[in-house]
Symmetry: C2
Subunit: 558 residues, 2 copies
């Protein structure tokens, strides 16, 4: 079997401008090319689409992630191709992959097998430069903060209370914890600082939630970068940073168009972290796709406890989006892992493990139905090794819960392999029955919002706030940020905050260690457990293998 | 008078693909669009041009820079337009501006008035992403260094002897001197470090001197990142970083095409520092332009003592380029400044000051003739306040030295204002007489190369090496790097290393404080005086004024 990059490089791509004009019925001037196979849809063209009716929005989510992986992006691409395959007008909305991790361990994030978006090297490397623009906007604000202090600190910023960090799109552990401004008076006031990876920047979350250039600028101005000694929050607007940051982000805010291996169109735009941020592609891309296609397939990060919850409670609620249904991706192997199987434990790979592990799927189905108000379809990302007995077990489990379960083979077969899934999705969309819901009202106090998610979605028995976090939430509540949604950062591997608790644990304790205010993105982050905002490289990083030949052909990216 | 950005935004641009195909006789597939007004010429197309005959190469250089500025970029653009205006097929080759300084004090670097390249906002901000790619390639190597040490340090890199710094395209003084890898064993081994601005990265110099993707990768592999405790140099190749770095730079190596306000084509590609690097646009862009046009106008950074010397001794020698003549730009105001006039000294702005200041111009003319072997033409960038008497004085001075002196008004009038300059340049090119020379042979020892530049070009009386620098040069000489050219980093404001010595000082002492090896770029840097590789922001940075409106129109960039 050829590798993903080999499949992608062997494909004959269509020029994106004529493809997009023809398929989406767009005027020529609406599209701006980036090479022949990538384009941006100009923001100025979006108002002209507002009269069109919205298509159906389909969320692809998954069981709790496992080491072998589930194939959520692959399913998103496969389902998009599958819908087109059965004659529907469908688009795909994905996040942009982060460049840094490509040089570490993680592969690219453009799907896989016959279900990929292309050109995969471009998408995985610089793409259209959005992340670079986000990094610079973030770092301009950082430079303006230290510069303001250096030149007299008229705003009285407390150097011990600056929360705004610098960012770089690289896995670089040496930058996690640094001291800056050493070397004497010419270099400013020394302080402790650190770099996050770009996708962790609040600017990324803002770009993904903004609905227009004006809204982007307003949100950038609202960013709280730290506080004065008497704890008055200081904003980016007070530093007069919002205009220049927005100028840097003007093009990045326009959604990017690429194609699948089958020539179907995908918006690939924005890529916020799925722990300290909401983990979905941009609101602008999703809203635009809904005007351009009858079916829009999108995914949210991690499992349905994190990604789907944030998709509903942060993205959809704030942007007024109404999904029609959710597809929950699972694999036999991953379900067995939730039931205790492990590649390192020979013989653990049993039918019984599968039976136990199905509880994880069941819990996600229940949440999607009861708490997010969405009809769910289970999609089994099929592997050759899966037995008929195993499949039958999953099907019976789903049937008992009144949920359709479909086998999908898009990885090996492309859209044709997801045709049945596509038909199930269309049937569900036509049947209706979605009643997209939020877990909580805006007015609910911040701490209670966290408790609502913990009890309903995670099935925690108790939420414990560190005293500092508790006091901080109260301060923000009093300062007028109480109406914001919350964004919980916890391990993706378990419903609990303990990564080793597989399956469907309940009654566990959720410990809120720290809270952060994303006043521009308009949510409050509750950190439960250790969340790494700057990854490191492994002992043998992929970078050692990545190469380009004299003809410009890249290898080693996967 | 409208501002530069207002003029640029009022212009009607031609779509770059048809313009370039038509003008340059290129096949459609040779060009890759970045939006409608920027394009890259694919590297894979360059070999097809090799059979074409080279056009004339014209270097635009200047007197020693002064606070009021001379207008070198404006003259480069104006001359390119002027040559087209008189019916010649001419192209322009410029450096890409650095984004960071746009948010500080410095304006953009796309020319000015009616002599600009457009789209100026794009060129000054992200452009086609080349600098972002360079920054990441640089920072990938940095991350791989610390990662290698963290995971056991098989190469035995001495953390006290790492010379490779990180970079960001931002004026950020707080990053000049930092400590990294604090916070415990998970974050690596703490050490002192720092960030430079992107244009100071050796990767930038490498990109600008590489002649192909293969040559780029070879040079990246040769980068010396530091040494072991016993002073053995460690290269990027040993860290297996070269392939991934080249993959990141694959698109950045392809030259960028834009147009002037008059619809003439310009390559804008690469932008190395003019002090610690050679300060010229890329070899690939210049070589390609020479195949596509009969006249190619390019500029080199700072005055002719620095920029033109490096253009000849580093870029042209290494790339086998043969310029036909040099244009030396001056203004009445700047010449008066060299004669002691000063905006802050009322009444100092006299004809006598002009007379004294002409010595600076005279010295540069002499160097260009005698040491670089190029016929020179003096171009006076004319201002309304210049009197006939002042102009006559300059003309007489040039005439006495057998040099043509032309008045140019491209700033106000575009190409038509540089028509006379264009005719003078054409006459000079047709007349021949250039005998492009290097100041020294490859075989001359490194220290003697520095002495040769100091005595011939700077007219220093003596060169003093700090003992450490002296020993270091000897080490490199012994290690086989003795054949490299040298790149002197000193103040641009004087022939000496003392910025306050205006005019044409001689007999001064050049003190070589520090030397650095750029083994990938293939030169040795001699640092004389304080050279800042990370600028800071002023008290009121331009960022505060830069804005973008709801329609995406940028303001405050100038």
């Amino acid at each position: 079997m050829p590798t993903d990059i080999e499949i992608a490089q062997a494909a004959t791509l269509q020029k994106i401008l004529p493809l997009a004009q023809r398929t989406l019925d767009l005027p020529e001037e609406a599209l701006s090319p980036y090479g022949h196979y990538k384009a941006k849809l100009g923001l100025e063209h979006l108002p002209a689409l507002s009269g069109r009716k919205n298509g159906h929005l389909i969320l692809v989510t998954a069981i709790s992630p496992t080491p072998p992986g589930e194939g959520k992006t692959t399913t998103t691409v496969g389902l998009g191709d599958g819908l087109n395959h059965i004659g529907k007008k469908a688009m795909i909305c994905l996040r942009e992959p982060s460049l840094g991790p490509c040089f570490g361990m993680k592969g690219g994030a453009a799907g896989g097998g016959r279900a990929q978006i292309v050109p995969m090297e471009d998408i995985n490397l610089h793409f259209t430069g959005d992340f670079h623009a986000i990094a610079l906007a973030n770092n301009l604000l950082a430079a303006l903060i230290d510069n303001h202090i250096h030149h007299g600190n008229a705003l009285g910023i407390d150097v011990r209370r600056i929360s705004w960090r610098r960012v770089v799109d690289m896995n670089d552990r040496a930058l996690r914890d640094i001291t800056v401004a050493l070397g004497g008076p010419g270099n400013g006031y020394p302080r402790q600082d650190g770099f996050d990876i770009v996708v962790a920047s609040e600017v990324m979350a803002i770009l993904c939630l903004a609905t227009s250039l004006e809204d982007l600028k307003r949100r950038l101005g609202n960013i709280v970068i730290g506080s004065t000694a008497d704890k008055r929050p200081v904003t980016a607007r007070e530093l007069k940073a919002d205009g220049a940051m927005a100028a840097l982000l003007k093009d990045a805010l326009a959604p990017n168009l690429v194609q699948t291996l089958e020539g179907n169109l995908a918006f690939v735009h924005g890529g916020p972290f799925a722990n300290i941020a909401h983990g979905c592609n941009s609101v602008i891309a999703t809203q635009t796709a809904l005007k351009l296609a009858d079916y829009v397939v999108t995914e949210a990060g991690f499992g349905a406890d994190l990604g789907a919850e944030k998709f509903m409670d942060i993205k959809c609620r704030k942007a007024g989006l109404q999904p029609s249904c959710a597809v929950i991706v699972a694999t036999v192997r991953a379900l067995k892992y939730h039931g205790g199987a492990d590649a390192k434990k020979p013989g653990s790979d049993t039918l019984q493990a599968l039976e136990i592990g199905l509880a994880n799927l069941g819990r996600h189905i229940e949440n999607v139905h009861q708490h997010y108000g969405l009809p769910a379809i289970v999609s089994i990302n099929r592997f050759d090794a899966d037995t008929a007995e195993e499949i039958a077990l999953i099907e019976a489990y789903c049937q008992a819960r009144g949920v359709r379960c479909v086998l999908a083979t898009h990885w090996a077969e492309g859209g044709a392999g997801a045709a049945e899934l596509a038909r199930a999705v269309v049937a569900q969309c036509e049947q209706g029955g979605a009643c997209a819901a939020s877990l909580y009202e805006d007015a609910l106090p911040l701490a209670d919002k966290i408790r609502a998610i913990a009890s309903k979605v995670y099935r925690a028995g108790e939420v414990v706030f560190e005293p500092k976090a508790d006091a901080q939430l109260q301060d923000w509540q009093n300062a007028g940020w109480g109406q914001l949604p919350v964004c919980i950062a916890k391990t993706q591997y378990s419903f609990s905050s303990d990564a080793s608790l597989r399956g469907a644990p309940e009654g566990h304790v959720l410990r809120v260690r720290e809270v952060r205010l994303a006043a521009g993105a308009e949510f409050v982050v509750a950190i439960c457990g250790d969340i790494m905002t700057m990854p490191g490289l492994p002992k043998v990083p992929s970078a050692e293998r990545i190469d380009v030949d004299a003809q410009g052909r890249i290898s080693g990216l996967f």
